[in-house]
Amino acid sequence: MARKEFETLTPQMFYILVVLNVPRHGYEIMNEIARITNGEIKVGAGTLYTLLSRFQNDGYIELIDEVDRKKIYQITKIGKRKLQEEKRKLIMQIKALNEIEGGEFYEG
């Protein structure tokens, strides 16, 4: 039942997958997300670790190393496909915005 939620990624899920393009451990992930979103998206430690184990179970990410008892994760092919799917959806959304009347207003 909870698995249904993964069909659409929340911003936090999205950014965790994005920053795992490069192998990182938990704390690094939190910092990196804060950096690239200028602190707009915050991922709590509980949320992060819950999602990491969930993503690992679902095969979106994999454990590649363990240094100083820190688990280092990286995105997998399945995870990348998930991001591509997300990208397609986002482009579709932007396109929809641009097509409506006065859409240029939203271009910023």
Partner: protein, 430 residues
């Protein structure tokens, strides 16, 4: 340092209420330092605003380290419910996303656990239903019958309530899990229902404890070895609890965790199997000489209300008389026991009429002597004859059965012909 204990109740089930409560305590200067089995332990420090957070993840070293880096300090846990505090009130919440919080919470409450508990309760009911049959054949709901069997009556009801509580605990887990799933799907919460249900479970738990305690105390007074067994099993439980609670959460190796729980469980179950086979109660069998050539083999079951002593006397291999002695706490209880024995003996010696047998077959489906009805005391007494003796207050007999009362002592004797009843009375009622 000043220390204070507060009942946890069901606070750990409701995160919001728990955090609000803890933050209020901290503002009053009471800091949470430990989560006990039933109590929160607080220590008195300077009153301050503190941020509390609850987490449900596996507490690995790495996780702990990350949390320390963002200012969260681990306080204590109950199973997978971990409590943290942060001196910085502005710190980020541990869960920035409600869904992930619910997923983490949901991993603690598994449907399978709920169904396991219900199954376990069902199994216990089936396994021990035989014992209740025995109880129900000896127990009548009269004062005399109840005081004679007080342990078994109370104990069997306490057990039933305990098994029911286990089943309801299972239902509670299923309800909580259902509620979590509903919340993930943004449906209305079942919190009110869970709260009420939890209250019922807690009340039943208290009731079974209230029933168990007097029985256990009654036994411990006369048989201190039972106390040792109880202390031992509580100790094993504490060790088991400590293992599963504190160490295992920090272990990432699921396999070792399961193995340890398995070993502890097997050990605990073994204790459960061995203890009932050890005869704690009837351990004072002894043989005393009665009169020339006659030995009495006696054992006893002591209790505060009515202690029962069963004596069989033998001449060589031959049984001379059987005798049950009841030592009662008060004269009133002794009277009730006397009445009960009269009724019981009358019933056991009465051959029921064909009409009565037919009625039993109609009612139960088959004929069995244990279904014969008890007569009223006054009616039953009419069949007995009075025996005048200087050794007892009352002595009634029916064929070779004697029911005797002397003050707080009641005797129930089945005598063979060649023994003088006065000799027996003289021996038992000194």
């Amino acid at each position: 340092m000043k220390v204070r204990y507060k009942l946890i109740g069901d606070l750990l089930l409701y995160e919001d209420e728990c955090i609000t409560y803890l933050e209020k305590m901290a503002e009053a200067g009471w800091y949470l330092v430990k989560i006990g089995l039933m109590f929160f332990k607080f220590e008195k420090r300077e009153p301050k605003k503190i941020k509390y957070q609850i987490d449900y993840n596996v507490l690995t070293d790495e996780y702990l380290e990350t949390l320390e880096l963002i200012g969260y300090h681990f306080i204590d846990n109950r199973r997978n419910i971990l409590l943290f505090y942060n001196d910085d009130m502005e710190a980020e919440d541990l869960y920035t996303d409600e869904t992930t919080r619910l997923i983490a919470l949901g991993s603690m409450y598994k449907y399978s656990d709920g169904f396991t508990l219900i199954g376990l309760s069902f199994l216990l009911f089936v396994l021990f239903s035989g014992i209740w049959d025995i109880y129900s054949s000896t127990i009548r709901y009269t004062l005399g019958s109840l005081v004679m069997n007080v342990d078994s009556v109370v104990f069997s009801y306490a057990l039933r309530i305990l098994y029911l509580t286990i089943a309801l605990d299972g239902v509670l887990i299923i309800l909580i899990r259902l509620d979590i799933n509903r919340q993930i799907e943004h449906k209305s919460s079942l919190k009110k229902m869970i709260k009420r249900f939890n209250l019922v479970v807690n009340l039943l738990t208290c009731l079974s404890i209230i029933l168990f305690i007097p029985v256990i105390i009654d036994k411990i007074i006369f048989y201190p070895i039972i106390l040792i067994v109880i202390v031992l099993s509580i100790f094993i439980y504490a060790v088991w609890n400590k293992y599963t609670n504190n160490v295992l959460n920090k272990e990432s190796n699921d396999w070792i965790k399961r193995l340890k729980i398995l070993i502890a469980s097997v050990f605990y179950i073994l204790l459960g199997i061995v203890v009932p086979d050890v005869d704690f109660i009837n351990n004072d069998d002894n043989i005393v000489p009665f009169q020339d050539g006659v030995n009495i083999n006696s054992n006893s079951n002591k209790s505060l209300l009515v202690s029962t002593y069963t004596n069989n006397s033998y001449k060589g291999e031959k049984c001379i008389f059987l005798e049950n002695k009841y030592e009662c706490l008060t004269r009133g209880i002794a009277d009730a026991v006397f009445e009960e024995l009269i009724c019981e003996n009358e019933r056991e010696t009465r051959m029921p009429s064909e009409k009565e047998i037919e009625a039993i077959v109609d009612r139960v489906g088959e004929w069995s002597s244990k279904n014969i009805k008890f007569s009223d005391y006054n009616d039953a007494l009419k069949k007995f004859k009075v025996l005048e003796t200087k050794y007892a207050d009352k002595c009634y007999y029916l064929d070779n059965i004697y029911v005797v009362q002397k003050d707080k002592k009641v005797l129930d004797i089945i005598k063979k012909d060649d023994v003088d009843i006065d000799d027996i009375l003289k021996y038992y009622i000194k």
